[in-house]
């Protein structure tokens, strides 16, 4: 899931300066799980903005709406009647959701209410940890199911650096050393032999270094005829 956290209220208020009719738009997927942009967070932020507006005479008219997934056009289409007549949409989805809203409603400003951080998972209630670097060339089968790209501060592929102390990373005492965890996991799996095989230098072209990525599933792509038959809803 995508992990994000809400921007500070004063930063959001700064972005809304000069706007009047505002829709706070949430997403029930990843950002709801990480307690940053689901229905509840939308309600609290909307109420905070109304309070701020009343106190400081901003004149904001704040409405709220939450869709299932703000990254998909089909769900964002549901927002059309709520967006009509608005000056801006304050998106509490990840950056993908905010961009989808902007692409579908080019005449209304989509403003980001969240800072989108990473691809990760809930560690325990309220704690969310980065797990995947999205490098496009997964090596989890060689590393005991632990991603060295995202979970090692240096993204090392062949063992820990000298900063690994007592199972922790030198970057922070709260951060486990990914290679310590990889060794423990391989030990538990009875596959320490995998450590004997050096992992060759990575081709980073499949990561961000190759520019924005695009994946095409040819079987799923509709022909022009199919798109026409679907009434432009593809």
């Amino acid at each position: 899931m995508i992990i994000g956290e809400q921007k500070r209220l004063d930063e959001i208020a700064g972005m809304l300066e000069g706007q009047r009719r505002i829709l706070v738009a949430g997403c029930r997927s990843c950002v709801a799980i990480c307690l940053a942009g689901g229905e509840k967070e939308v309600a609290v932020l909307a109420e905070s903005l109304r309070l701020l507006s009343s106190l400081r005479g901003k004149g904001w008219e704040v409405e709220e709406a939450t869709v299932e997934r703000q990254c998909e056009k089909e769900w964002v289409a549901e927002l059309r009647p709520r967006i009509e007549g608005k000056d801006c949409v304050l998106s509490l989805a990840c950056g993908v959701g905010a961009q989808t809203v902007q692409a579908m409603y080019p005449k209304v400003r989509a403003l980001p209410g969240l800072n989108t951080s990473n691809m990760g998972a809930p560690e325990e209630a309220g704690i969310f940890v980065e797990k995947c670097g999205g490098c496009g060339d997964c090596v989890l089968h060689l590393t005991g199911g632990i991603c060295p790209i995202a979970r090692c501060a240096k993204s090392l592929l062949n063992g820990p650096c000298g900063g690994s102390q007592g199972g922790k990373c030198e970057v922070s005492p709260d951060t486990p050393c990914a290679w310590e965890e990889i060794c423990r996991s391989l030990e538990s799996l009875g596959r320490l032999d995998l450590l004997e095989e050096p992992i060759p230098p990575k081709n980073w072209l499949s990561a961000r270094d190759g520019g924005p990525r695009r994946i095409v599933n040819k079987e799923a792509v509709l022909s022009e005829e199919q798109k026409r038959l679907k009434g432009g809803k593809a």
Binding site: V44, S48, L51, L52, S54, L55
Partner: protein, 134 residues
């Protein structure tokens, strides 16, 4: 006249309220108490909305820690009050207008004390600026 809103759990604090009535204890009519099934039912939106509607102060009254019928509703309520306090500071209304109290069923005097405490805070802070505008 002040407007103080209290969200009050109907269990321990609710019984304390009944007992206060039976014993003839009085608290200021500035305090309006709204009974809820559990303090954990109250969330930030209820608290902030009360201020937007003109409350000078808001309090949440839950059971004593460890005594919640719903196990941790009162602890959740405290977290929400803390979050709402942060928001009140950020918008400039001030967090001291909001408070969480814990009361047992045999502490009717605490209801009277809380009403006095919040009234004294409003006296020193002044009325809710939004209520003044109205």
């Amino acid at each position: 006249m002040m407007r103080i809103i209290g969200y009050c759990c109907e269990r321990g604090p609710g019984e304390a309220l009944d007992l206060a009535g039976e014993k003839g204890m009085r608290y200021s009519s500035d305090l309006t108490l709204i009974q809820v099934p559990c303090a954990g039912r109250v969330d930030e939106v209820h608290l902030l909305r009360a201020f937007r509607d003109g409350a000078d102060a808001v309090l949440v009254i839950g059971c004593l820690e460890g005594n919640c019928h719903h196990v941790y509703g009162n602890l959740e309520a405290r977290k929400r009050v803390d979050r709402a306090k942060r928001i009140l500071d950020e918008v400039g209304l001030g967090s001291s207008r909001l408070e969480m109290f814990h009361v047992a069923s045999n502490q009717p005097f605490r209801i009277v004390e809380m009403a006095k405490e919040m009234a004294s805070r409003v006296e020193s802070l002044g009325p809710n600026p939004m209520a003044v505008k109205e």
